[in-house]
């Protein structure tokens, strides 16, 4: 590769990166080293390094607003990206990323990883994100003509694109039953089943805006679903916490201050430790996980398991960030797939009809009001949906409908 137009010197075929080089020092593994490693065999990685150094010099991004690029018959899965210094760095003049739907909970075999690497060595920059914030395998940077062949190689290897645009986005799930004693439903399977069910909505954007699903199998919420998913499915249980008295005693004997470290942090204020026996008023337990987190050998979720379904999280723009809020307080584990499918179709119908351009479902609910939204999707109000009933007296009484009470 020739010298860049600005005449920077390059050692080992790599651009001169005084600023970035500093980021190869220190104990944490370096993304600069990664780019350099790819740059050994990838011209686009080499130009990426050069452009990034330039950004470090001028303290601004050198990417332009994306354009619509993609693969045949799909409306998403590719983020188009163009350089504003393409003359200096021609190999990243076009530098699109491909979002590849990851396997549930990011499990791989070495072979599966190698397959992806091989495709990306042939077809792209050799750089990836493992993984993107939504969960995808991000194949970082290729040209328009490589999109379709990459796609075809991937599908034949058993991988498919993830979401982008106004579509279902790649759902993700915590490791759940594969490795976690607290899983209250099979988050990986549910994530997979729904992903398969929504292939069309995932690949062919047709919504007012994006729609994200995330599945955590217990209230620890290890995929941050409540903060990042339009629909958050969080495992929980209905019956009593299972207590192993002997193990409780062992923890106490081992030096755990159960009153202070466990009971005093219990948000349900429903635990009592008299120095010998731990008792839990399960009726008041809010299913927060703290006691189990501290004493995993002694306490376990109950046996009647399922999930809370919450709706509406999103990032700040436009009207301020939202966390998902409770829509159905409990659905039994074996009814989740059907319930969600049915519920989601009603939600999407309403969103389709009333959502404005770039209005996430959470914002739509805020705009029309939860009562109207519930009417529309045919769900009865329950007190679990709110942290508290209203405190303002501005009630739209519907006296015609209700008549004299």
């Amino acid at each position: 590769m020739a010298d860049a137009p600005d005449g920077k010197k390059r050692a080992n075929g790599l651009p001169d990166t005084k600023l970035l080089d500093d980021l190869e020092k220190g104990p944490w593994p370096s993304f600069v080293t990664e780019i350099k490693s790819a740059a050994k065999s990838s011209e686009s990685a080499r130009d990426l390094l050069g452009q990034l150094e330039l950004s470090y010099e001028d303290r601004k991004s050198h990417w332009k607003h994306g354009g619509l690029v993609g693969v045949l018959g799909y409306g998403g899965g590719v983020i188009g990206r163009y350089s504003d210094v393409g003359d200096q760095f021609p190999n990243v003049a076009h530098f699109h990323t491909m979002r590849v739907n990851h396997p549930a909970a990011w499990f791989y075999t070495s072979d599966a990883l190698r397959t992806i690497c091989d495709v990306w060595e042939r077809r792209g920059s050799g750089l990836t994100n493992m993984h993107g914030s939504t969960g995808d395998i991000i194949l970082l940077g290729t040209t328009t003509d490589q999109l379709e062949p990459t796609f075809q190689e991937l599908t034949h290897a058993g991988f498919d694109l993830g979401g982008s645009g106004s579509a279902v986005r790649t759902p993700s799930s915590c490791v759940g039953m594969a490795r976690c004693e607290w899983a209250c439903y099979d988050s990986m399977k549910l994530c997979y089943d729904l992903t398969m069910h929504y292939q069309d909505e995932l690949h062919r954007p047709s919504f007012p805006y994006k729609f994200k699903f995330k599945f955590s199998a217990c209230p620890n919420d290890c995929v941050a679903s409540i903060a990042r998913a339009d629909m958050s499915v969080i495992g929980t249980w209905k019956d009593e916490i299972q207590i192993d008295e002997r193990e409780v005693a062992n923890y106490a004997a081992g030096g755990l201050d159960i009153a202070k470290d466990v009971c005093s942090h219990c948000p349900g204020k429903c635990m009592d430790w008299d120095g010998k026996k731990l008792s839990i008023e399960n009726h008041d337990c809010v299913r927060c996980m703290h006691c189990m987190n501290v004493m995993p050998k002694a306490l376990r979720p109950g046996k009647e398991r399922g999930a809370v379904i919450l709706l509406g999280a999103k990032a700040p723009i436009l009207q301020g960030a939202l966390l998902s809020s409770v829509l159905i307080p409990f659905v039994a584990a074996d009814e989740l797939f059907e319930t969600i499918k049915e519920l989601v179709s009603r939600i999407w119908d309403f969103w389709d009809e009333y959502g404005t351009n770039r209005e996430r479902i959470g914002e739509l609910i805020q705009r029309v009001g939860m009562p109207a939204f519930l009417d529309a999707i045919g769900l009865d109000p329950v007190p679990e949906m709110v942290s508290a009933p209203r405190d303002n007296p501005y009630i739209y009484y519907q006296t015609e409908k209700e008549g004299e009470q």
């Binding site: 944490w28 396997p103 499990f107 690497c117 750089l127 062949p149 992903t195 990032a315 436009l318």
Partner: protein, 361 residues
């Protein structure tokens, strides 16, 4: 390289089945795990009802990985754990072992590769982050460079479980918050501080004016005409630099090398453990963009970590600690100035005013 379709052309195959890459010990004990034990920082042991044990060794990764590094991970997986591995929701790599004897050799090989082992329990885990200057047009700052700089400074807290509770840091390079930083113990957020510079000539060709106008949360964008064509103007005092106009219209670029920078937010959380999930709150409204090492940002984050780890009780997340001691104490202990920017003036601002006589002195 070829563009000829491989026959048949497959579409909508979806991701690999959820159980396709599970190690045998996981398949056998799927949904039958009984409890887990701490072994060492970065090493977990899950015990199944069957008595089987699964050892997980977790390593920190820069997320931006070359295929060379991924292949090295694959090699390590083959060497120590039958080829099975996974990544975590915070971009760490996990090797899934059944042989405890393999743990130490694996850790040595990881060390040789420069991969720190840790991130478990009450350590500081990997920083969730975004594209920054590596790939996004919208970025008010870089992502990877700050993450690297901060993690260099905090690496010993990744490899030691020495925090009062989990401490989760995230970074997003603009207000779109792809890193979903809004619920993090410590969040680093790229910010603009200048209104968009309207590219008058470009605008009529590439943007829809009504969409553009409605994209502004504060109504700062008004219709205007430019050389007879529909265009817009920005009421600068009403602009709070969110860049949403730029997201919908390329002719409204925001970046400004002198004024872009970072803000720091604290006390958010996601888990339902103990307290409810909550947003992070503003700690520092602005720090400058100083590549390659962003010393001001690193210093601020380290300061928060130090103050928190010194003062919080066991099991208190950052926000829970501040709940107990109060925000005035947070500002006093960190030495960060409390400014007019800290007081909310957006839609629900009134609800953040201190509406009680509960005051600490």
């Amino acid at each position: 390289m070829t563009t000829t379709p491989i026959q048949p052309r497959l579409t909508d195959v979806g991701p690999p089945s959820y159980d396709k890459y599970l190690p045998p010990v996981v398949r056998k004990n799927y949904g039958q795990w009984k409890y887990h034990e701490k072994i060492a920082p970065g090493v977990l042991c899950h015990v199944a009802e069957s008595g089987d044990r699964l050892y997980t060794v977790r390593g920190g990764a820069p997320r931006l990985l070359s295929i060379e590094t991924i292949r090295k991970f694959a090699d390590l997986a083959d060497k120590y754990c039958g080829g099975y591995l996974r990544f975590t929701s915070r971009n760490n790599i996990e090797f899934l072992l059944t042989e405890p004897a393999n743990i130490e050799p694996l850790k040595r090989d990881m060390a040789a590769m420069g991969i720190p082992v840790g991130g478990t329990n009450n350590s500081i885990s990997n920083i969730v982050h975004t594209q920054g200057w590596v790939h996004c047009h919208s970025a008010a700052t870089d992502a990877s460079g700050i993450v690297k700089s901060v993690m260099d400074a905090l690496c010993e807290h990744f490899t030691h479980e020495d925090m009062p509770a989990k401490l989760r840091i995230a970074l997003a390079c603009c207000l779109n918050m792809c890193g979903a930083v809004h619920c993090s113990d410590i969040a680093i957020l790229g910010v603009h501080r200048r209104p968009p510079k309207i590219q008058k000539e470009l605008l009529p060709n590439v943007c829809e004016v009504p969409t553009l106008i409605s994209s502004c949360p504060t109504g700062a964008i008004r219709p205007a005409t430019w050389e007879g064509k529909p265009s817009v103007e920005v009421i600068e005092e009403q602009c709070m630099y969110c860049a949403n106009c730029y997201t919908v219209c390329p002719a409204m670029p925001m970046s400004d090398a002198e004024n872009d920078g970072l803000s720091i937010w604290v006390g958010g959380k996601v888990s339902n453990a103990r307290s409810e999930p909550r947003f992070s709150k503003l700690a520092i409204p602005y720090l400058p963009n100083h590549p390659p090492r962003w010393p001001e940002v690193v210093e601020a984050v380290v300061k928060i970590v130090e103050v928190y780890s010194k003062h919080a009780h066991k099991y208190e997340r950052v926000g829970e600690w501040i709940d107990r001691v109060g925000w005035p104490r947070f500002f006093e202990l960190t030495g960060f100035p409390f400014t007019r920017y800290h007081i909310d003036d957006f839609k629900h601002a009134g609800l953040t005013f201190a509406r009680s006589a509960h005051v600490r002195y």
